[in-house]
Amino acid sequence: MKNHPSASSQPARPGSPLDSSGWLLAPAALWGGCFFLVPLLIVLLVSFATRGVHGGVVWQFTLANYGELLHPIYIVIFVQSLAYAAVTTCLCLVIGFPFAYFIARAPRHLQSIWLLVILVPFWTNFLVRTYAWMFLLRAEGLFNGWLLHWGLIDEPIQMLYQPVAVLIGLVYGYLPFMVLPLYVACERLDPTLIDAARDLYAGRMATFRRVIWPLVKPGVVAGSLLVFIPAVGAFITPDLLGGARTMMIGNLIQHEYLVVRDWPLGSALSFILMALVILLLRGYFRVDRRLSLPQVSQ
């Protein structure tokens, strides 16, 4: 194409068939096809297969695995996981919003430092962060030590291996996912708008509801999804901080695959989980198309 006369008069526009560099996408597409779409397809197929007596898969079509999932125990686990994820999301929102707002209001040169403050825990290994809470919460741990020392309690409180420990771990693990998009949204917020609202004698609540909320809503939705989705499939947090007393979907899937070796049932479970997440996201993209890309990038 080099120096071709028509190339200068009619440059190859993106998307035109003249341009041959669309092949650049081929290796990535091939990789994704082989190692992402095909595996998903296999999971789908396995979810309709029969379990071998000692695990493994017998290729005999059945709907029994999905039928099994209608058993109340699995439904309860799904509902519980959704509830954990929802509470985690709300807590992250309540805790993270003032923080994000504060950072967005801070002077420009300080903002990057504040972002760093969020990023350090975010870049720290998830297992390490979970372990930190095990260390703090156990009966012989630091919190109980302090409370006993100050005479606030006479007996250590059971915190570790309780649902509250799982919640703390989830909130701690995913809080940065909430704060970052919220910060982006708050940063776009023009402070003069708030001043204007105040000048017009809007109360604090009214200012929030009428001015701030509509503007930060996209950030709230994005942050909520970024927290809710990993939280609903969490494995490490309930496993380590829940002391294997609580099971979330992630633990159930791991249990089916690695403990009971019921691969078909495990596959059916993971497929339902994936469908759930995709439905949620479809809803999100329908609600707000503007936020499709940039959120994930930073």
Binding site: V53, H54, G55, G56, H71, I73, Y74, V76, I77, Q80, R138, A139, E140, Q158, L160, Y161, G243, A244, R245, T246, M247, N251, L252, H255, Y257, L258, V259, V260, R261, D262
Partner: protein, 357 residues
């Protein structure tokens, strides 16, 4: 200008590293660069099941390298093998899992000529039901499942599994995170076999366990020794070894096998059918079963060693500790765990239901 070349250099390094990673056995290729080609033996075993100095000695003796990979339950071991993790040479499944692995054709027949140390095992471990002729497996470490308790808190020594249902110890009880063991203890308490395949019996055991759950602090197979030692739990359902380890940190800890009886278990050495170094694997098994080596392992882990002589080689306090070496009189009430076949689904559902409460 120099920095401009950095990405190119990075790409080259990356591709080279990839080439290295893609070779069948990364350890071997890595080794080959500095120490000639020593065979690498892959040993798949329980967390903290082997002392580094014991491995180092074998490595010296055989001019080989031993790489250890860990699993934390029999089920995890089987799942890994079934999911195509070939390359392990020697593994240590427990009794009932040996039976399953045999049926699935995962095990290599042992060459007894290469394992002379297998001849002199403790009489209790000869002719085990799942592999009487030791064609595929040789017992290595063994023991019982019972209750560890803090005698400072529980003054009268408990003699029944019922103590684990005692509301006075709410929140201070730990149970194994192992569905067969937890159901096993419950079934024995109910006067049933711990290998029951009867749906109604399993349901009844489940109901008992659901009653118990509010009292249970955690289900763990890994760190109840620590929980006992720090006093976070005063009752732990568990294997003798970790409970004996807790005794070292907190002398008031005691061990009891309830009168209803429980599990006797043996972790067995096996060679996998897909093992790359079968002969070395046989020699490794023979080495681990050497009475001296086995005694050292026993001393370290506080599990009973299978070679008959080894018991005499460990210190008195360990030899006489019922948590480590089961006294003869408990054998009448012990039961080996067996594969329950299709009933595993009933256990599984019951276990899931217990966990979701």
């Amino acid at each position: 200008m120099k920095t401009k070349r950095l990405p190119a250099v990075g790409i080259c390094v990356g591709i080279l590293a990839l080439a290295a990673a893609c070779t069948q056995d990364p350890e071997n290729s890595r080794e080959a660069q500095n120490q000639g080609s020593r065979p690498t033996l892959h040993y798949f075993t329980w967390s903290d099941y082997v002392g580094p100095e014991i491995l180092a000695e074998f490595e010296r003796r055989e001019q080989a390298r031993v790489v250890v990979d860990l699993f934390s339950s029999n089920e995890e071991l089987l799942a890994k093998l079934q999911s195509g993790a070939t390359g392990y040479d020697v593994a240590v499944p427990s009794d009932f899992m040996v039976a399953i692995a045999m049926q699935l054709g995962l095990l290599e027949e042992l060459d007894h000529a290469a394992i002379p140390n297998a001849k002199a095992l403790n009489p209790h471990l000869q002719r085990l039901p799942f592999d009487p002729a030791q064609r595929y497996s040789i017992p290595y470490l063994w023991g019982t499942v019972g209750i560890g308790y803090d005698s400072n808190v529980i003054k009268t020594p408990p003699d029944s599994w019922a103590i684990l249902w005692d509301p006075r110890y709410k929140g201070r009880i730990s149970m194994l995170n192992d569905q067969r063991e937890v159901f096993g203890a419950t079934l024995r308490w109910m006067g049933q076999s711990l290998n029951s395949q009867n749906q109604a019996v399993i349901e009844a055991a489940k109901a008992k366990l659901i009653d118990q759950k509010p009292l249970v602090k955690t289900y763990t197979s890994d760190h109840y020794d620590q929980l006992l030692a720090t006093g976070e739990v005063v009752l732990a359902h568990g294997w003798g070894g970790p409970i004996a380890r807790a005794m070292r940190e907190r002398p008031s800890i005691r061990y009891v096998v309830p009168k209803e009886g429980g599990t006797v278990w043996a972790d067995c050495l096996v060679v996998l059918k897909t093992a790359p170094h079968k002969e070395l694997a046989m020699r490794f098994i023979n080495y681990l079963l050497d009475p001296q080596v086995a005694a050292r392992t026993s001393e370290r882990l506080l599990f009973a060693a299978a070679p008959a002589v080894a018991k005499g080689l460990v210190p008195h306090d360990i030899r006489d500790n019922p948590a480590v070496y089961p006294p003869d009189e408990v054998f009448d009430r012990m039961e080996w765990m067996k594969d329950v076949g299709e009933a595993v689904r009933a256990y599984d559902r019951a276990w899931t239901e217990l966990k979701m409460r």
